[in-house]
Symmetry: C2
Subunit: 334 residues, 2 copies
């Protein structure tokens, strides 16, 4: 089985990144043109709603397939305009000839998903294939800080409970905590808000978010255990609340499968490197029920979820060739 | 001349802090009751619109008196409801018996203004009188940072141009720059905003404000010269723009006048300390045309511009007694 999805569903309505689907068809055609017969059937899947752009959550197709999400419940989800997913799907199916209803949850011998990297590592390292070793774990935190509003001109600094400066101290300390030589940890503060937000008032409240990711559970858990203590140690007299609204542990792909991708790229003479996936993918769900691998190709400047998303034809072809070679090896096993 | 104004004009419409006026009347009454005759006349002034709550800018009465603001132009300023200051003033004058028109800009031998501290230093140091040595200088900066938005999961940290982390670095470095043992510098970051403000997007933009104050021009200028270089040194690859929308140099009160307050508080046995004013006052304008002093009394927890503003009767009486003693000394001079 080879998986795929529509990568990009930007606001403009473009669908630039359907590499998994088109690359999968290219691989299947190449196998057929070469007259190769395999012991196992090969199927192509275009998962429903990976991005979660119109219907939330994303990776819904694979979530239902592996039994993590309830099928009927997903069909009842509404988009922003109140359109039920089940109705939108029925309309798409009715207007698309040749689509037959397929059951889900059937056994799969192995699964390979091709994808653009959505990051700049392959481009930076001048490699064409990313041998995806797994999907890094991710957790989100919301840190809320409560101090005292005060007059910027009169309140001595030592008497202040300045929520903004406490937040700055926390983020600085968290940067130190998460610094690593290999540049593998992903530590992002995407929200940073202070109140009341007046230049001559010492902020009495602050809030920031943490998006923390790492491919290794051991490393991620060690960092996670330090988040709240580091925030508290830098509270500078303010009150602190630390919540963790999301925690998705890392996924490590089957090493035999990863080795198939690495070996086949090598056999084709394509420059390749091992790397974890920074973003989530349907492969994450599928890896729960079948040996799974992913193949990354470079995308310009690492841009994704953006109309400027772009990959070169030769890189896309190299990815499809690697996919075809992997499928032949995997489908030929007893 | 003794100056005063209505301290607090909070949203609720309360006027808790008319200490300058009431304290001034108390001092004049005490002088009269004691049968003291002075060589010079003593006048009490209730300046129009010190706070700038209803009409902007504030300290308008003293600004016009010393010739810094144009009288007619101020009368044409409108409040939020479109009511002209000139009309509002005329209405007040018409409904207040006994007010005679007075010229402005006439010569003053000396000026003393009583005020609550609006900060916590007197309370913290257990002193009753603040001998105000001047009004600290103040400047505002707006720092804008432009980086690149990026995917929180995929973009390696070393390749990011993270506007939020650059802003955090700048604020940390500015805290180091402005740290002083005497706790005299006032460095406040009242605004701190990042965009687009999504937990899983590396911020491509950030903005923060700086409110920097110090009573000594030399110290303030030295710090001001470092603001932009420190921001640029911590830009971490981002573009930076630094604006300074406000710059008001420090005011140092006439040392003979300051000495009168210090000496008279001492003679009355009232615990006093020298201190600069953290906030602006009418005394700032008046000091341009006459030897000027201010007398501070403690206010609970340093709160001001707040309905919780509060001062004890005994502290207020001590301030009025000091004011009366100063007025007698100053008005008795040849």
């Amino acid at each position: 089985m080879t998986g795929s999805h529509l990568d990009s569903q930007p606001k403009g309505g473009k669908y630039d990144g359907a590499y998994g689907v088109v690359g999968g068809f290219e691989a299947l055609e190449a196998i057929e043109r070469a007259g190769i017969e395999t012991r196992r059937p090969i199927e192509l899947v275009a998962w429903t709603n990976e991005e979660g752009g119109r219907y939330q959550p994303g990776v819904m197709g694979s979530g239902v397939f592996v039994g993590d999400m309830n099928f009927e419940a997903q069909l009842d989800i509404l988009d922003r305009d109140g359109v039920r997913l089940g109705d939108a799907l029925a309309e798409t199916l009715a207007s698309t000839p040749g689509i037959a209803r397929r059951s889900f949850g059937f056994p799969i011998a192995s699964y390979v998903e091709a994808h653009i990297e959505q990051g700049p590592r392959l481009e930076n390292e001048n490699k064409t294939i990313g041998v995806v070793t797994g999907i890094q774990g991710m957790c989100w935190y919301i840190v809320e800080i409560s101090g005292d509003e005060a007059h910027a001109g009169t309140a001595p600094l030592r008497s202040r409970r300045d929520a903004a400066k406490a937040a700055v101290s926390m983020v600085s300390a968290l940067e130190e905590l998460t610094a690593d030589e290999t540049d593998t940890v992903r530590f992002t503060v995407g929200r940073f808000e202070v109140g009341p937000g007046s230049p001559n008032t010492v902020p009495g409240s602050a809030l920031f978010s943490i998006d923390l990711r790492h491919p290794e559970a051991r490393v991620l858990e060690k960092l996670m255990a330090e988040i709240e203590p580091v925030c508290r140690a830098n509270a500078r007299g303010c009150d602190v609340s630390v919540r963790r609204p999301m925690n998705t542990p890392p996924i490590v792909f089957n090493s035999t499968m990863v080795d198939v991708v690495r070996r086949q790229a090598g056999a084709l003479g394509i420059p390749a490197m091992d790397m974890p996936s920074g973003a989530g993918h349907d492969a994450g769900y599928v890896s729960r029920v079948a040996p799974t691998a992913m193949i990354f190709v470079p995308c310009a400047k690492g841009l994704s979820h953006n109309e400027a998303e772009s990959a070169t034809p030769s890189d896309l072809a190299a990815g499809a060739a690697t996919l075809a070679a992997c499928l032949v090896e995997l489908a030929d096993k007893g």
